[in-house]
Symmetry: D3
Subunit: 169 residues, 6 copies
Amino acid sequence: MQQPISSIIYCRTLIGSHSPNHYPFKLLKEYNIVTDKKSLKEFREFRQRMNQKIYDSGHLGIKRFFTLDTKAYAEGAIPVPMKELMGLVASMVLRCDDCISYHIVQGVIEGVSDEQFWEAFNIALVVGGSIVIPHLRRAVDTLEECRVLEEENPDELKLQSGNNPYSDH
Amino acid sequence: MQQPISSIIYCRTLIGSHSPNHYPFKLLKEYNIVTDKKSLKEFREFRQRMNQKIYDSGHLGIKRFFTLDTKAYAEGAIPVPMKELMGLVASMVLRCDDCISYHIVQGVIEGVSDEQFWEAFNIALVVGGSIVIPHLRRAVDTLEECRVLEEENPDELKLQSGNNPYSDH
Amino acid sequence: MQQPISSIIYCRTLIGSHSPNHYPFKLLKEYNIVTDKKSLKEFREFRQRMNQKIYDSGHLGIKRFFTLDTKAYAEGAIPVPMKELMGLVASMVLRCDDCISYHIVQGVIEGVSDEQFWEAFNIALVVGGSIVIPHLRRAVDTLEECRVLEEENPDELKLQSGNNPYSDH
Amino acid sequence: MQQPISSIIYCRTLIGSHSPNHYPFKLLKEYNIVTDKKSLKEFREFRQRMNQKIYDSGHLGIKRFFTLDTKAYAEGAIPVPMKELMGLVASMVLRCDDCISYHIVQGVIEGVSDEQFWEAFNIALVVGGSIVIPHLRRAVDTLEECRVLEEENPDELKLQSGNNPYSDH
Amino acid sequence: MQQPISSIIYCRTLIGSHSPNHYPFKLLKEYNIVTDKKSLKEFREFRQRMNQKIYDSGHLGIKRFFTLDTKAYAEGAIPVPMKELMGLVASMVLRCDDCISYHIVQGVIEGVSDEQFWEAFNIALVVGGSIVIPHLRRAVDTLEECRVLEEENPDELKLQSGNNPYSDH
Amino acid sequence: MQQPISSIIYCRTLIGSHSPNHYPFKLLKEYNIVTDKKSLKEFREFRQRMNQKIYDSGHLGIKRFFTLDTKAYAEGAIPVPMKELMGLVASMVLRCDDCISYHIVQGVIEGVSDEQFWEAFNIALVVGGSIVIPHLRRAVDTLEECRVLEEENPDELKLQSGNNPYSDH
């Protein structure tokens, strides 16, 4: 009997609100389970819809904060890829999975190499300690997923990026 | 073919243990998936059962801590709604989704307005920084869900409240 | 109609990447849902596979950090069970569910009694405050699950342990 | 022999850069040591000069952040004194002495009563745990100092306030 | 010309309110500066006076919290010295110097060996990361000072202990 | 009457153990107080002596951790100056003054420009929130001091660096 597709979407939607990019596609394949390539897209839509609501709330302070957040990683005296890695290291030592995923996506888009990611992972691990390890495991998983997406669906990867009005963090 | 109902309950139960009120009901509706209004009730039962076990453990210190926790938000020189918002801001800067959900439910019951919630969200965002954003998104989602519940099922909302012996946080 | 098995594995796999041991088996039984005892095993395999990837990355610093992490809890002037409880208290006040689960599993294997666990829970609660409560609820759930496993499937419990090359945290 | 006055100013200046309002005046009197009422003023000048430098750096993002910070506590749907207490509770659970001092000064100026301060202290203590206690002791000390200043030198207290361009936090 | 004694007391008093036991006595001796063995005693008096004020505030919740805090480290299923080390590790990963000093004093009184302290330091360092290093340096300094006090002035060391009504943390 | 020199050294020594580079030299000059350019050197000696003691303790795990810490910032796929800024941002969001000072010194030695420092400060401020502001003020103060030292005493600045066996963090 085939797995009902709505069940999969349902689960993804629920989990997606917590950790955008952590769907272990390969793992699923190993277990021979129906996979759905729309999951990352779905999360992006969720994040954008919530960000849109936050904008629509009309709270000026929050809107301006989002703008400051976006601009902090813009081109300047520090190259953008390095800024994304700074955001990544900060997110890892503060242990925020969503933020880690966000900066990995941005870093991949900005051309950060795997070797650079691993050096940044190492800095975060040394500064933040073993409490960072579970987040490191998920970060490695996310990075791997992004590399697959980079090859198979670069458009979706770009859509994940913050280079559009409502995609802060 | 209809989605088997047990699957939905199953997923909810698992996820419920992590973030009580974050079921994106509306999102589910958009995807035309069977929804189950008992989910919040189920989480409440989970939380209360675990709290009951904690009480039944007989550890006096922990029981007393729970009592202190409940009393900290009781009527006093500071109005209860403002105390709930203080608990909310503290939970946001410390980034605990369950605690955020708890104080939003309490705040809604105590009559906190949306405008007040947004000003408290803003304080938490400014004090805690962009690392708070993913929690803000979920907080906005939870608040929206509570407003729906407030209209459609106020009894369930009240049951979520801490005004009963085993519902601390 | 029977619940399609693939759906269950699917959900577990997704959630497993976040919180290994929190499957509320008993809760599921109460709702008369198909349960699958392989979940804990699946998480272990996930964790070990990710740890293996981290090792395979060839980053010497990270590999050495993992070794330091394992050795910190080895026999010495402080008995191992007490070291595991120190790791547990540290994980609770820093609020890392995966780390909490890890040290509970290790503690159960090392013969820590329930009374000792509860005293450690209490220290963590007092030091870390009410923000620890949601993690305490999940810790109690995990401890209960480990006690069940200890009786019904001690081999699986031992496999969860860190006494093999790639099982740090 | 009299205590050289420059020594006192010297020590104060150095320490002042870390914790503005914590000079235990009464303690000093008990030990019959020369006290200097200008210390609080000196800290204010230090803070304002550093803030001025931050403004003068010309970094637009940081300047705008300071503006957002100031506005977060402005009059709105939540009364200003309650906002200051929210900032205070957030600062206590995040354990930042300078921020705690800042919000206590602001709260005193905004008419927050001692009873309200103590209820906020209690919320912070329960949410944040015993790790907050050393900060609570200093907060009590600062509150006491502000009450003295309120009676003896209300102008200096007002100058401490954020109601001027360069006094954020 | 001799250093005026009141200046020393003055400095100590100010600094003492932040970090009780960190006076680097030996360092001072190397620089041939007048030292004052009363500093630790002075801090104790400060802490006890502030704790007394907190008690005198009449806030029942805070008083009860202090009681819970004291009892968490009382004899039970876990030996007291191990509980103190759990409090120490928690304080180190949360990076609170006053709490670290407190638990080192208690540990020394309870007979914790240097080897045990170092193993606990190591656990804290691995869990918490390099951000713990500055606190580790001060912890080593405090431990050394306590060992000196243990030999030269055991009564003062005991007075530092929490075994009296107002000496929580 | 001249300020007794021993008093100054005394105060510096005490404070130095907490925040190495924060002596507001210019502030002191404005108040026409005797300043002592050896303070930074004194702190370095303190830090190195404590690090030496930590090494001499013979705890292999801690020694190896220090080595990992040093190597994390070594030349690799990410340029050293960028790694120092990653360490700086991580230290700022985790709010550790000593670590902030350390990475500013390293960054200045590695040729990080003021503009780059300010962009890193901004990222830390946005990620970490207003709770970072007091540390930002001290960071600006430290940076300014390093720039003075860079011109007036470059040898002392280099000695502050971690390029010697016992100068981790």
